[in-house]
């Protein structure tokens, strides 16, 4: 527990009502979507960068860990206070400061919910593409800190492709600015890119300048069922090789299909072994042609059934199939390990075959679905923790899957980050010199290791 004296300093900085040491709050700010719980000593909800600066200065002189937090919806423990200390809840910084239609940029505070910004920019005909599944509740600060992705990233790229600049409070409590609002800018190191995806270990983001695009005029959604998983995987690489980049290219394997068969509200034939949901967007006239070209490419690859949405309602129905996968996985087994590997797109068929082999060798179900268009697959290792040996098998499966991913030139996390969940596996992907380089940066910027300690790297 923190001394009363320190709690009083925090109260002086942010105001009494924004500091809590109550057990109820310690419980409620102890977790994220990894479901691991670590109680913070105190929950602090600052209003601005100046307050955060004072908090970090105090934390440095007193050596107290500080854990920045948005919605707490991350998948790798990024916001979990593993060493107690201060849970720094940033949701009061929730203003959209401006939407600049002349320069196509928006400036926001980190606590703005992603969907809130998207709605606001779409009202004026603009578009902020990154669309993590959590967009209705996750915050832009969290999206930036983790470099969130989503289905649309096939065509539009991930969060880092939209961050032009930010205001950051450094671990020592200085307020700095990175990048700017111009489309170009090469003065000094690219600190913006360093901060995006740093998982809150190098600074607390207090303002973000985001690039916007014009909102596409129309979109077209298709659902294509294949008689083999290989066919679907090959279709992905063939479409890309055919020089077409759809907005989304989502993929579901046979187990995923079996899970949604009853509830999807769509007729799924028995011989369908894999599905691609393909969406194209842009000018209305071009869409027909793009869609036809995609179907033409996929035609020789064992298509069982094709469905093309002709209205928003039908498109929504197709997306419902995709969205109902995740919640229905419990039918397979009660507990899951959710990995988000990413391989070069041409290697997708090989990766899927390897995962199937691992699944049958270890005799545990592995369900694959996700953003196949950019090689990013959500690999769900379904286990029952109450069955002896299941957890060990899951560990083995994860290691084997990561090994294969890296062998194919991929990465073990496309969009979820490392946090605590993937920290043990870091040496598989990064060599010792690279890790040392990263740690040198961390040590230089955060000499007392107070900002989000225990994340990305295992402690020495």
């Amino acid at each position: 527990m923190l001394e009363k004296r320190l709690i009083n300093i925090l109260r002086d900085i942010v105001g009494k009502e924004y500091v809590s040491t109550e057990q109820a709050d310690r419980i409620c700010y102890s977790y994220d979507a990894t479901q691991k719980q670590f109680y913070p000593d105190v929950i602090v909800r600052p209003a601005d960068a100046a307050q955060i600066s004072l908090i970090l200065k105090m934390a440095n002189s007193e050596k107290i860990p500080v854990y920045p937090r948005g919605a707490g919806s991350g998948f790798t423990g990024g916001s979990v206070p593993v060493k107690g200390g201060i849970a720094l809840v940033l949701t009061r910084l929730n203003r959209i400061l401006r939407i600049d239609q002349d320069n196509l940029v928006a400036e926001v505070e980190p606590g703005v919910v992603t969907a809130t910004l998207q709605k606001a920019v779409e009202e004026v005909g603009l578009f902020y593409p990154p669309d993590p599944a959590s967009l209705k509740f996750s915050t832009l600060g969290g999206n930036v800190a983790e470099c969130a992705g989503g289905p649309r990233c096939v065509k539009y790229g991930v969060t880092k492709d939209y961050v032009l600049g930010m205001e950051v409070v450094t671990p020592l409590g200085d307020i700095i600015r990175t990048g700017g609002e111009t489309m170009k800018g090469v003065v000094g190191y690219d600190l913006t890119k360093l901060m995006v995806g740093c998982e809150g270990t190098l600074g607390v983001i207090t303002r973000i300048i985001l690039k916007l695009l014009p909102k596409p005029e129309a979109k077209k959604t298709m659902l294509v069922m294949f008689d083999s998983i290989d066919g679907a995987a090959q279709a992905v690489s063939s479409i890309i090789r055919g020089k077409i980049i759809p907005t989304t290219l989502e993929f579901m394997d046979a187990t995923a299909l079996a899970c949604v068969r009853e509830n999807a509200g769509l007729d799924i034939p028995e011989n369908a072994r894999a599905v691609l949901i393909i969406e194209v967007d842009g000018e209305r006239e071009l869409l027909e042609r793009q869609a036809a070209r995609i179907l033409e490419i996929a035609a020789p690859l064992g298509i069982v059934h094709t469905q093309i949405a002709t209205s928003d309602e039908e498109s929504e129905k197709i997306w419902k199939v995709r969205r109902s996968v995740s919640p229905s996985l419990r039918k397979v087994n009660p507990d899951k390990y959710n990995e988000d590997i990413c391989v070069p797109r041409s290697k997708l068929p090989e990766m899927i075959r390897a995962i199937e082999a691992i699944s049958s060798r270890l005799e545990i179900p592995i369900v694959n679905f996700g953003h196949a268009g950019d090689g990013n697959i959500h690999v769900n290792i379904m286990v029952n923790r109450s069955i002896e040996g299941h957890e060990e098998k899951a560990e083995t499966a994860i290691r084997d899957i990561f090994a294969k991913t890296l062998e194919l030139g991929g990465t073990m996390s496309g969009e979820h980050g490392v946090g605590t969940s993937k920290a043990p596996y870091i040496p598989m992907e990064l060599d010792a010199a690279t890790v040392a380089y990263m740690k040198t940066i961390k040590r230089a910027l955060d000499p007392n290791n107070i900002l989000n300690p225990g994340k990305i790297f295992l402690e020495d």
Binding site: Q23, A24, A33, Q37, R92, S134
Partner: protein, 423 residues
């Protein structure tokens, strides 16, 4: 006597919450309060901590658990369908067991369990209302202020009816011999405060030639007692309703109150197979009338020249896909109505049973969202399908100084049916 489950019985369901945070996007209270402890994920964590003895049942937890509108949005949108609504009710029962009911909760539960007491109080209330209530200067002119220490001084509520609905009518009203027998469950608000809605239900049922049963022994649906944490009281009410509503073999049981509908169809199934069977027979009145073909009948009525712009507020307890559209379909079939859209039509009115008593400030914030939608809708009338929502929306309109009227969809239907008969 029947009995609800204990919080311990929900261990497995609690474990099914994967802390994804989806509920943060849907909880109306969380959107106002922004504290993790009030959102479903937080309450579930608190419930787990209680079961694991990591936290005491103190005032803070009691307050967190009271901050729920029982609107069901967290359950509907939860990827794993964790029954947070039931878990919260189980927590409230535990709180009542350990700490006793709050004074207000005890009052609500006692009065609603004793119809004679309720009748006496309403008669007294009416007789003395000129003494204790003050009229709201503007607005509908009929709305009164409520001076109880538990209800905020600036709250407006409807007056008490001179004669309760069920006292006005015989238990059985014969219709056409070959038509179904329909049991009408009135609920307390229609019976004591808004009997005109009950009359409208009768008009619509008679139009279709239904045989109508209004059992005298029916009581409160039990939802208020359940929400207050009075498990035994709620179960007693449910047992009594089971007896009263199934004494005659009616073909259908209908209700015109969205909250009673939720009480009767959802919350008492776990009390036993008889309860579950009865729950399966209960229909929302709009759903019933629609099934019986009233929509076509309404469409065939002579059109009026200048239909009034009317908008529809979706009660939380009628948000299920199949129930959401039915009242709107009936409204749009009315000759006197031009149905207009309203922003935030599906946002909660803010009543949430006893929620608005304990947290009137949050309730009013939710009301402001509704007021904006009502103001911009261009409607003259806000129709809805729940007496509770009617009361709350009228309060919101009174505070916002808006000109709109609030009424039940059935009242609009009855008016048009009666006008058609006259002409």
């Amino acid at each position: 006597m029947s009995k609800h489950q204990e919080i311990e019985d929900y261990r497995q369901q609690l474990r099914e919450c994967v802390k994804c945070g989806t509920c943060r996007a849907h909880c109306p209270v969380f959107k106002q309060v922004q504290s993790e402890a009030v959102v479903a994920r937080g309450k579930i964590s608190l419930a787990e901590a209680l079961l694991d003895n990591k936290i005491d049942l103190d005032q803070r937890i009691i307050s967190d658990i009271s901050q729920c509108l029982a609107c069901g949005r967290c359950v509907k949108n939860c990827p794993n369908q964790v029954p947070t609504d039931e878990i919260i009710l189980a927590l409230r029962r535990r709180i009542a067991q350990k700490k006793g009911l709050t004074l207000f909760g005890r009052g609500v539960s006692t009065v609603l369990q004793h119809p004679r007491l309720m009748s006496l109080l309403t008669r007294l209330g009416r007789a003395f209302s000129w003494l204790v209530f003050r009229k709201v200067p503007k607005g509908s002119g009929l709305r009164l202020r409520f001076p109880s220490p538990y209800i905020s001084r600036d709250r407006t509520i409807p007056p008490i009816a001179p004669q309760a609905f069920r006292q006005r009518h015989p238990e059985f009203i014969a219709g056409e011999p070959n038509k179904p027998l329909v049991t009408f469950f009135t609920g307390c608000m229609i019976n004591y405060m808004m009997p005109e809605i009950g009359e409208s239900v009768l008009t619509a049922l008679k139009e279709l030639g239904m045989n109508i049963l209004i059992p005298k022994d029916q009581g409160c649906c039990g939802l208020p007692a359940l929400c207050a944490g009075d498990g035994p009281g709620a179960a007693r009410l449910a047992d009594r309703n089971l007896e009263a509503l199934t004494a005659h073999k009616a073909d259908y049981i209908v209700t015109a109150c969205a909250s009673c509908h939720s009480g009767l169809t959802k919350h008492f199934r776990e009390l036993g197979p008889d309860h579950a069977q009865m729950a399966g027979k209960v229909l929302d009145i709009h759903e019933f009338l629609y099934q019986q073909g009233l929509e076509e009948k309404l469409r065939s009525l002579p059109r009026q020249d200048n239909p009034r712009p009317v908008t529809y507020h979706i009660p939380c307890h009628l948000r299920k896909d199949d129930l959401k559209e039915t009242p709107r379909k009936l409204l749009s079939a009315l000759p006197s109505v031009r149905l207009v859209d309203m922003k935030h039509a599906g946002a909660c009115c803010g009543l949430g049973g006893t929620f608005s008593v304990y947290h009137y400030d949050i309730s009013k914030q939710l009301g402001n969202i509704k007021a904006e939608g009502i103001r911009d809708s261009g409607a003259e009338v806000v129709a809805t399908a729940c007496p509770g929502c009617i009361m709350q929306l009228q309060d919101t309109i009174n505070h916002a100084g808006l000109p709109q009227q609030v009424c039940h969809v059935l009242e609009m239907i009855a008016t048009d049916l009666q006008n058609a008969q006259k002409s």
